[in-house]
């Protein structure tokens, strides 16, 4: 059972080996994945293409079996069936029966999910409204655009009002308007107290949406935690803009503080460790320089992501 009911997804030491083609050699896709997702949070599962994100999600959905390790959702083994009443899933580039209309496909999934007949029409109408497809509800899915299919995909994932929703690359291939609509829907889920597990490689979406992330590179988790905890205090940096700084002093600062120096002439910008800012300002003021601005620099998720990829490449 989940600890104190907060753990919605619990993965411990999941390994997945596959045999590509007919050969006997095994290829390891997932190397002992362990992660935890808490109730009510938006969890980003981040990694480059081919890292194993979709494989992990398919393990959680019971579509493929782990070679070893254990995965549970809401305290149930992922191989079970009935608990999926509380689970919604949007696969990457979802495919549906295109001979059905939007309304028919939602009714189909609602019936499969055990939604009561009396409540079905209202629920279907509500979801069509949420995903802004009420006007296209009676058109066949083969006439839908990619963005519309993505939205009907979200609607089918939510048709039975699940506790936890798994989304695989929900924003992939969408235009800016489509991405915003999906982002708004995800935030709406969070407000409703739902848990969202989201696979993505679009880092700006992660930064905007996710409470916690796990970075997966080459089948291994390189980091897991809150975005703001990505860097400890020692690594936080600030951008200091100075004017009137003598050229020789700027070079000395660069050497002494290991600072990154940008600009030239009388106006320079230095990126230094946060703990060294006071020291640098004192020295700059003593040398007659003027402080234009001091801004805390928030390292982008992209930088961390690239760092994780590089360290994985180095270790391999």
């Amino acid at each position: 059972m989940p600890d104190d009911g907060r753990e919605v997804v619990r993965v411990r030491g999941v390994v997945k080996d596959v045999r590509p083609g007919l050969g006997l050699r095994r290829k390891r896709i997932l190397h002992g994945i362990s992660l935890t997702v808490h109730r009510g949070e938006i969890f980003g599962f981040v990694g480059p293409n081919g890292a194993g994100k979709t494989t992990m999600l398919k393990v959680l959905m019971g579509l493929i079996r782990a070679s070893s390790g254990r995965a549970t959702v809401l305290g149930h083994d992922v191989g079970e069936t009935e608990f999926r009443r509380q689970v919604g899933f949007l696969p990457e580039n979802p495919y549906f029966y295109d001979y059905l209309t939007g309304r028919e496909i939602l009714r189909f999934y609602a019936r499969l999910s055990g939604v009561r007949a009396a409540a079905m029409d209202k629920r279907v109408a509500t979801l069509l409204d949420w995903v802004q497809l009420s006007d296209a509800a009676d058109a066949r899915l083969r006439t839908y655009s990619k963005g519309m299919l993505q939205r009907i995909g979200i609607a089918q994932a939510l048709i039975h009002d699940p506790e936890v929703v798994f989304l695989d690359e929900p924003m992939s291939g969408l235009d800016p308007i489509g991405r915003k609509q999906i982002r708004d829907l995800i935030l709406r889920l969070k407000r409703a107290g739902k848990t969202v597990f989201m696979n993505t490689h679009i880092l700006s979406d992660v930064e905007m949406l996710c409470d916690r992330v796990a970075i997966l590179v080459a089948g291994r988790i390189r980091f897991q935690g809150r975005l703001e905890d990505f860097l400890d205090g020692d690594e936080r940096e600030s951008d200091v803009v100075l004017s009137g700084l003598p050229a020789d002093l700027a070079s000395r600062f660069e050497e002494r503080y290991g600072a990154e120096l940008r600009g030239h002439g009388t106006r320079v910008e230095l990126r230094v460790k946060e703990k060294e800012v006071a020291d640098l300002l004192r020295a700059a003021l003593e040398a007659g320089a003027e402080v234009q601005s001091v801004t805390a620099y928030r390292i982008s998720l992209e930088s961390i992501f690239m760092r994780a990829v590089e360290s994985a490449e180095e270790s391999s």
Partner: protein, 258 residues
């Protein structure tokens, strides 16, 4: 816990897919055309015109029923995996076995629906040409329905783990051998090649004996049909199809959808 409701949701949607497919209407058109052609063929003969028409008609019904069953059956499960429509379905509270059985039931109902339409066409042409229609014809067509159940189960089994091309080859092969097992067994019993007799016995036991579903001769020639000639093949067909579905479900439950 197996849920008949969930099986029905999948089955009814499979029927709906067939009803909305244009290709199926084309096949049905040709089947009815072939039944009608029986009238022309029989016109070439001076004797037993009704019998010749009904022979051709019943053969057309059997051929098209089995053809449609194999044609649709071989892609039944594979198509869902290939088009990835299965991902969202299996993320709902439905087991793989329920899904497989639902698809099977849906396809059997589809082929029965087509069988019913072809039978109406057959009866209409018989009525128009004055050929006699009796319960023997109904029994022959009914057993074709049971044979189709078995063939759909064979195609479903192969579709659960291999490609439509291989499934087609296997299914057609089993259909052809299935009509020959009785003859093969007799051949094996008469022959003196070592091991061949045992081989034909094994083939006869393992493969479906599809000739047991063939009452066309009885119907066309007005031969008497005993009750056992109906209920024994019915029980055999249902049992055989159920056994195949169990194997298919076993294989399907263990598959990875990568």
């Amino acid at each position: 816990m197996i849920s008949p409701l969930r099986i029905w949701v999948i089955a009814s949607n499979t029927v709906r897919e067939a009803i909305r497919s244009k290709l199926l209407y084309a096949l049905l058109f040709f089947a009815i055309l072939l039944i009608g052609t029986g009238v022309l063929v029989s016109a070439l003969s001076y004797v037993e015109r009704e019998r010749i028409f009904q022979d051709v008609g019943l053969a057309a019904i059997r051929l098209f029923s089995v053809g449609i069953a194999i044609f649709l059956g071989v892609g039944l499960i594979h198509g869902e995996v290939d088009r990835r429509t299965i991902y969202t379905i299996l993320s709902k509270p439905i087991s793989r076995s329920e899904f497989l059985v639902g698809k099977y039931v849906g396809l059997v109902l589809t082929t029965w629906l087509q069988l019913a339409i072809m039978s109406v066409a057959f009866a209409a042409v018989s009525f128009a040409t004055g050929a006699p229609i009796d319960l023997a014809h109904a029994a022959a067509i009914g057993l074709t329905g049971i044979e189709v159940m078995v063939i759909v189960a064979v195609a479903t089994l192969f579709s659960a783990f291999t490609t439509p091309l291989l499934s087609s080859l296997f299914s057609v092969g089993i259909y052809m051998l299935g009509h020959l097992t009785r003859d093969l067994r007799q051949l094996g019993a008469q022959g003196d090649v070592e091991g061949f007799g045992t081989f034909t016995v094994v083939i006869h036991r393992v493969l479906p004996n599809l000739e047991s579903f063939n009452l066309s001769l009885h119907a066309a020639h007005g031969l008497p049909i005993s009750a056992a000639e109906i209920w024994l093949p019915v029980a055999y067909g249902i049992g055989y199809a159920a056994a195949l579905l169990c194997v298919a479900a076993y294989v399907f439950e263990r598959r990875d959808f990568r």
